[in-house]
């Protein structure tokens, strides 16, 4: 029960773990590009062996970046009950919706086919891969670096009047505030629970009850968030921040061999993933 309140422990997004490994020292522009390539490959790949290979590569990233693997695992833990329920639903009902595949079991509206088993296993692996990849990215890159990298990658869009700098700032604020709000939410859940509110304990099929249980958390969360936003607005305006002002850059990046190697490596991994036919 107590574990239900420990949101901050399970949120790895927005945390940074400086270990000084080679992954940490990569140029953020190239690291981000490699991340995007790998995520796209994972999203497209739906073969068993391809995903196993990707999973192996993702696990290898942890020792390479000197990050203890339990950081990645803790991102998966809160989602496990959810994934299991979803997997069961997919297993039972997806076979009836999609065509194709060998039918292993059929009873009434329940159809289990080789395709639905593939769907369940592949989406579970995919989920773990994406969590691992994004954990390594955020744990090995500070939010500042991440934003700088993104701003440079989106740089060409500036010519199309796209507000690249403002957009990068929005993303930084969003990522920066996730752990803060997780902490706020934890506080509120404890406060409500100490008053006798009860959430997460209702049976999952009592949907109306579970939805009602959320209101005392969600609505104050928005209010706290907006109050914090007002503070930040005041602070930025007090410092005369002008979004469209021309800026010089503090950080300059120069790409080295290891950065190009990272891109090539991620392309090779993607090609292997998509090339494996099973």
């Amino acid at each position: 029960m107590s574990a239900e309140f420990e949101l901050t422990r399970n949120i790895t997004i927005g945390q940074y773990l400086p270990t000084g490994s080679i992954v940490h020292r990569l140029d953020p522009r190239f690291k981000l590009a490699a991340f995007v390539i790998l995520i796209l490959a994972i999203a497209v790949c739906n073969t068993y062996v391809g995903n196993l290979f990707a999973l192996l590569m993702c696990v290898c990233l942890f020792p390479l970046s000197k990050i203890p693997i339990h950081y990645g695992l803790s991102g998966i833990k809160p989602a496990i009950p959810f994934i299991v329920i979803l997997a069961i639903l997919q297993l039972l009902f997806y076979g009836g919706i999609a065509d194709g595949g060998t039918v292993y079991f059929e009873y009434g509206f329940i159809t289990i086919t080789s395709e639905s088993i593939r769907l369940v296993l592949v989406s579970a692996m995919r989920f773990v891969e994406v969590i691992f990849l994004s954990s390594v990215l955020t744990l090995s890159t500070s939010t500042t670096e991440l934003t700088h990298g993104m701003e440079r990658l989106l740089g060409p869009l500036e010519k199309l009047k796209f507000p690249v700098h403002a957009f990068a700032l929005i993303i930084t604020i969003a990522i920066r505030f996730v752990p803060t709000f997780a902490m706020e939410m934890e506080k509120m859940m404890k406060a409500q629970a100490s008053r006798g509110a009860d959430f997460g304990t209702g049976e999952w099929w009592r949907i109306v009850q579970r939805t009602k249980d959320m209101f005392p958390i969600i609505i104050p969360l928005f209010n706290v968030a907006l109050a914090r936003a007002e503070d930040l607005i005041l602070a930025m305006e007090a410092r005369c921040y002008i979004p469209e002002a021309a800026r010089t850059r503090y950080a300059h990046y120069t790409a080295a061999g290891k950065d190009y190697a990272a891109i090539v490596l991620s392309l090779v991994i993607s090609a292997v993933m998509l090339g494996i036919p099973w």
């Binding site: 949101l7 949120i11 997004i13 999203a43 739906n46 809160p78 959810f82 994934i83 979803l86 639903l89 997919q90 009902f93 919706i97 989406s123 579970a124 995919r126 989920f127 994406v130 994004s134 507000p163 403002a166 957009f167 700032l169 929005i170 993303i171 930084t172 604020i173 969003a174 990522i175 505030f177 996730v178 803060t180 709000f181 997780a182 939410m185 999952w204 099929w205 949907i207 579970r210 939805t211 959320m214 209101f215 958390i217 969600i218 609505i219 969360l221 928005f222 209010n223 968030a225 907006l226 109050a227 936003a229 007002e230 930040l232 607005i233 005041l234 930025m236 305006e237 979004p243 469209e244």
Partner: protein
Amino acid sequence: MEKGLTVRRIVIAGVLGAIAILLGVTRLGYIPVPTAAGNATILHIPAVIGGIMEGWGVGMIIGLIFGVSSFLNATVPLFKDPLVAILPRLFIGVTAYLTYVGLKNVNQYVAIGVAGFVGSMTNTLLVLGMAVVRGYMAVGVAATVAITSGLPEAIVSVIVTLAVVAAWKKLGTSGRQKSKISGDL
């Protein structure tokens, strides 16, 4: 209203985007409903609120953050398709904003409530429409999902949007202050 991205719009978009990410990552924003789509969601509500408060641009950016985070968190193949996960989400804040502006002069609170409903339905209809177009679902299945998870989502959206926006509009009249430079609402 001022044009372009002001400090206020940037911060509000960032903060509401953070809520969308947080609710997605902790799974608190999902209500498991046994349908083909897997679950009902309240993750679109930040986009609706952003659209009402700061206009369509902010609504669209929060929609984008929501879309990308739902794309990255997705466990079903349906939302692993950027055309389903990201593209429809851009319009949530836009329709909510347009509804709010259209009805604002009739009654503030009616406008907020209806905008909450319209924003939520935009999400439901466009996502399911895209799912049908991309061949993940049959029309009949999509219609069932629209009723079983779309309607509850819309109701929750109306309640939360009303409560949050109404409270936010009162902010500054008592206790905490709003910035005087850009706070023209």
